[in-house]
Assembly symmetry: C2
Homo-oligomer: 100 residues x 2
């Protein structure tokens, strides 16, 4: 497995978070994680192509929006809500409030 | 002069606004407009190259973040604060609160 990169909370940068959220697919992943909590990649992929979803997960991870951990052969993803709320108060809430 | 495109308020899309704000230069323009109100391109450019600044202004306009109007030979830019606050309550405030 390729090593997964997660920035520390204090390394998360506003521009990078906004970039991660500037894509409809990534926004829909974030909305689903906000609703459902920790979720496997498989469940989040739905019928979308695995290769492009892997790219989206990597962007979300490297920008500090999502944390992925391995559980056996499954990757579980969680929204880094506490880290984001601490770094950028109100940002995530304002984005999640917007209707699709 | 090239015609300038501004979306109507109800056409402004969240992903596009987040994209427009996902760049350090564009964020700094938005912060300056938030502080100073309507400002000319020349004053916003500072010592940065005009061609890349033109690109950034176009992104900000086309994504619905900034409105540019011509006053003689000057272009004046304004943050579309009321439109953004109405469409995405709390978003701009949370972003402007973050320190550079």
């Amino acid at each position: 497995m390729v090593a997964m990169t997660h920035p520390e909370a204090d390394e998360i940068r506003l521009e990078r978070v906004l970039y991660a959220l500037s894509d409809g697919v990534r926004l829909s992943i974030v909305r689903q994680l906000a609703r459902e909590g920790a979720t496997s990649c498989a469940a989040l992929n739905g019928s979308r192509p695995k290769s492009s979803m892997s790219h989206h997960f990597r962007v979300l991870r490297e920008c500090g929006v999502v944390r992925t951990r391995s559980e056996g052969v499954t990757h579980m993803n969680e929204l880094r809500r506490a880290d984001l709320d601490q770094r950028f108060p109100g940002l995530l809430a304002s984005i999640l409030t917007v209707k699709d």
